[in-house]
């Protein structure tokens, strides 16, 4: 490599193309500086700075939505700018905004450092945004590690709570294992694709187009198949698909509620962004669909069955939402299976993800208001009589849960409907039957929760000591956010327009 080539490579590092990520990274550093510079009594403004910065970046992204770079690759092929990428960027920033807002409520109840929380959330968000646009296995692994390590810290953030520390440790061990498996898969793919004895080999085999070319040239290579399966397993851990879902209930229960929301929505969506880039119709593994489709189909069926059946018996709402999140991963996997043959499915998955974001954060917002000092102890009984005490929270909860359950005319219903239509078109009939049965089961446990909030009255225990934590009053900002999420759930049930327009499908 001579100096000219080096200069050429350096010139392709077009930093302005990543302005949202750079803004978030800079914002994260700014928060730390502010913590040092500002006197302690002014530290209250730091979360506001984080939220304002996120909002500003989000607006900047929308202004620059149809950037001239769409379709181009920068950073020597590490980053591929697409409309899907833009969409996921917005998705993760909206998640981060809501997590910061919920974080304020939860952090105020605990004695622990506050500013670092926002810093880590911002860095993790930037990493997720890069993940959705990565076009290179090296880039994929580096950003995946960054976001996973950030999440290890966030999960164990309530370090005075044993549940949180246990969750952090479990997540660390499972996460390290899954990263190891993913890396092993990547190495196998890189190794076999660099073998000069095979046709279409490449010395830059981690670059998606080169890897795609290699896989198309070698349609039944054993080592490549093994690598693909290992990569799928690694991603399966991240999205919590069966049989890699063991960590989900404990981690979701132990993590602080905003982090649970972040894990359930943003981390899962990041996993699906990767899956779609790899297993979609024009994905990297498209030549190995005879392998990936059965694997994903079995995974989807098992995930839907396991998630719904295990959520049925839960009494702790964090475990319930965690396990129901597993079943949502199953429905999304159904979409991924369909996306192998139909491009419509990709659209359906994005719509599903947004509907899931809106509904989940509505529910998590209500959960944050009802949680006490012990964040892991949130029982269904705590919701008894909510409709009488706080009709607003109960209404938001009902809409959020209804949307998660897929009740028409809410957004969650349309999400499921679009995914099911795509699955029907791609011919995954028996998987569709399982998914439909799963939806029926899910209505049962979601309505158990709604029933607790609306039709049950809470009787304090006989010895007089109230065992239920006091509810946090709804502030102006969170009230606005929750109301907005509830309205959005209704609105997107009727109108799905932007999700057809934003994506130019090829």
């Amino acid at each position: 490599m001579n100096l000219e080539a080096v200069k050429l490579a350096a010139a392709d590092n077009l930093w302005s193309a990543l302005f949202p990520e750079l803004m978030l990274a800079g914002l994260a550093l700014l928060l730390l500086v502010l913590e040092i510079v500002l006197p302690k009594k002014h530290h209250v403004v730091i979360p506001d700075v984080a939220s304002a910065g996120l909002l500003g970046t989000l607006i900047g992204l929308f202004v620059n939505w149809n950037s001239s770079l769409i379709g181009a690759e920068t950073f020597n092929g590490l980053i591929h700018h697409t409309h899907q990428g833009q969409m996921m960027r917005a998705f993760f920033m909206i998640c981060a905004l809501l997590v910061c807002q919920l974080g304020r409520l939860t952090l105020a109840r605990q004695l622990m450092p506050k500013i670092e929380f926002y810093h880590i959330v911002l860095v993790v968000t930037a990493a997720m945004m890069l993940l959705a646009q990565s076009n290179h296995l090296l880039m994929l692994f580096v950003v995946l590690e960054t976001l996973t390590i950030g999440l290890y810290i966030l999960v164990s953030y309530h370090r005075t709570s044993t549940a949180s520390l246990e969750a952090g440790l479990k997540y660390l061990v499972m996460g390290a294992l899954s990263s190891g498996i993913l890396l092993f898969g990547i190495v196998l793919l890189y190794g076999v694709a660099g073998n000069p004895a095979l046709p279409a080999h490449s010395d830059n085999a981690m670059y998606y187009p080169e890897l795609t070319r290699f896989l198309e040239g070698n349609r039944d290579n054993f080592v490549a198949s093994l690598g693909i399966v290992l990569v799928l397993v690694g991603v399966g851990f991240k999205i919590g698909a069966f049989p890699f879902q063991i960590w989900v209930p404990d981690v979701y229960q132990g993590a602080p509620t905003p982090v649970t929301a972040f894990l359930a929505v943003a981390s899962k969506a990041a996993g699906f962004a990767v899956l779609m880039a790899l297993c979609g119709k024009h994905g990297v593994f498209a030549a190995y669909q005879s392998l990936t489709t059965p694997v994903l189909t079995v995974m989807a069926a098992a995930t839907i069955i396991f998630g719904n059946l295990s959520a049925l018996t839960q009494h702790n709402v964090k475990r319930l939402i965690g396990l129901s999140g597993v079943s949502h991963a199953g429905f999304l996997l159904l979409g991924v299976v369909a996306s192998a043959t139909s491009v419509l499915a990709t659209n359906a998955i994005y719509f599903y993800l947004f509907a899931y974001l809106i509904a989940s954060f509505a529910v998590f917002g209500v959960m944050t208001h009802l949680a006490g000092a012990d964040d892991s102890d949130q029982d269904l009984d705590h919701y008894a009589g909510l409709a009488k005490d706080s009709p607003f929270l109960a209404g938001v909860l009902a809409i959020g849960l209804g949307s998660l359950a897929g009740i028409p005319p809410l957004a969650g219903f349309m999400g499921k409907f679009l995914v099911f239509v795509a699955a029907y078109q791609s011919g995954a009939r028996w998987l569709l039957a399982i998914a439909a049965a799963g939806v029926v089961v899910s209505i049962f446990y979601y309505f158990g929760w709604i029933k607790a909030a609306f039709f049950e009255t809470w009787t304090p225990p006989a010895d007089g000591a109230p065992t239920r934590p006091a509810r946090t009053p709804v502030t102006w900002v969170t009230g606005f956010a929750l109301g907005f999420l509830a309205l959005a759930s209704v609105f997107f049930g009727f109108y799905q327009g932007p999700f057809g327009q934003f994506l130019t499908l090829k």
Binding site: K114, H119, I149
Partner: protein, 171 residues
Amino acid sequence: MGTFLFNVLAIFTLVTAVGVVVNRNAVNASMCLLLSLVGVAGLFVGLQAYLLAFLLLLVYAGAIVALFLFIVMLLDTKGDARPTLHKLPVAARVLAVGLVGLGVVSFVAQGKLPEPAIGNAPAVGATLKLYAYQLFSTYLLPVQILGFLLLIAMLGVIVLSKRFEGLEDIK
């Protein structure tokens, strides 16, 4: 010369690797691991993979084994009494040894790489200079991201381990 050096290094690596497993003192086991890694690094040098050898020494021997030693010394574990042998673990061990043995035998018997493939393979990435050029031009973005990774890892250690006094006024 090449074969002699290879044999010496291979035997050294294997002997010290066995030392890791059989040593009852955790510190000695870690030191054996260190020596074993030095042996592997020597083998890499024999293959002219200088960069790989150097990275192995730097990362594994330098950082990771040092970390092991720290933790072993912090925990201050004493070697326990030899555990009693149960049927199932013994069976598992026999099976594992058998499988490894089978793997080695089949590799020696049949594991032939196609000759021209090795001959033609260019030694890309073998020089430190090329590696450094690539790191700071083509792969500059991942390097920067790793900087942030280290930053949040450091913050995480502080947040999760430091004793905070007077946190009441941080709201």
